[in-house]
């Protein structure tokens, strides 16, 4: 895939991926992150904690936002920072859309930068659980 350049980016440009959130994936994440809290893989303990069932780890959603950015900017781009708030819970076993939208394109100290709004929403589009922002640096064309 051709390297994305700063010149290619347009204001309002949107990127997204759809992710399956199986219980198995949450267990792989538990192992990867060291977060073994049972509300993410044990429905009975989730219920005891006033939840309706196991929920997706917030940090996993945050890191998938990072992956969306990483895959978009390619080998020669760089993530300056990204962050999300976990405002709502996402039940497991339902696909999630992880998205970004360009809000600003600018140069700062010779660096070509792009700001984005990012987030995670359920497939019905009604629940925006994980809003955030990101800044990436991209190479110039030519």
């Amino acid at each position: 895939m051709a390297q994305l350049t700063w010149d290619d980016v347009t204001d309002g440009q949107e990127i997204s991926i759809v992710e399956e959130m199986s219980s198995q994936r949450l267990v792989i994440w538990a192992s990867a992150s060291g977060d073994f809290y049972q509300i993410h893989y044990d429905d009975s303990i989730a219920t005891e904690n006033n939840l309706t069932g196991i929920i997706v780890h917030g940090a996993l959603k945050g890191m998938i936002v990072g992956r969306l950015l990483d895959e978009w900017i390619g080998d020669d781009g760089r993530i300056v920072k990204w962050g999300v708030s976990y405002r709502g819970m996402d039940r497991a076993r339902m696909p999630l859309t992880v998205w970004g939208r360009v809000t600003k394109k600018y140069e700062d100290g010779g660096r070509a930068l792009v700001d984005l709004d990012v987030g995670v929403k359920q497939q019905d589009g009604t629940s925006e659980t994980t809003p955030g922002t990101a800044t990436v640096e991209l190479p110039r064309r030519g």
Binding site: Y37, Q38, N50, G62, M63, G66, K81, G83, V84
Partner: protein
């Protein structure tokens, strides 16, 4: 759960202070691959050291946000099931949720790197939620490469306890 009028003196004293001793994180090949797998990466630079070197990296590359895993050792007093970590004042609120994460990558992280993580509480606040009173704990962790002291990344976390 607790129901406090205000932060306790212990809580107020914790704001701005480092949390415990620095923690050593090991960045291993298998740690990188398991993280990349869970997050859904397919880029070979996160799975195959030769593919990473072909892209100019010095070893298997860690995906953004991965700073390795702390060393588990029961001799250090860490229990196998570790859900109630934290100071006594944090354990007033036994249940935990993650409120937010911000990652600031500074330098690339590779398999074989050993990092020192220092975490500082940047703010504490009480908040009313539909699940009762919550303690909102903001903290920043700085990851430093032990081989040369370079800061490789910062992570800011908002933790909710209730």
């Amino acid at each position: 759960m607790a129901d406090l009028e205000d932060l306790t003196p212990e809580m107020k004293a914790a704001i701005g202070a480092e949390v415990g001793d620095p923690v050593i994180y090991e960045v291993t090949t298998q740690g990188i691959r398991t993280f990349a797998r869970a997050v859904g990466y397919t880029n070979p630079v996160y799975y195959d050291a030769d593919a990473a070197r072909a892209k100019g990296h010095r070893d298997l590359l860690a995906p953004p946000g991965f700073y390795g895993m702390p060393i588990y050792n029961p001799a250090a007093g860490v229990s196998m099931e570790n859900n109630t970590s934290g100071a006594a004042w944090e354990q007033l609120y036994p249940r935990r949720l993650n409120g937010g994460t911000e990652v600031e990558p500074v330098e690339d992280v590779y398999a074989g790197d050993v990092l020192e993580a220092r975490t500082r509480v940047t703010n504490l606040a009480l908040r009313t939620s539909r699940m009762g009173q919550m303690l909102v704990r903001e903290a920043e962790t700085v990851y430093t490469r032990t081989s040369d002291g370079a800061v490789v990344g910062r992570m800011r976390n908002t933790g909710l306890r209730y």
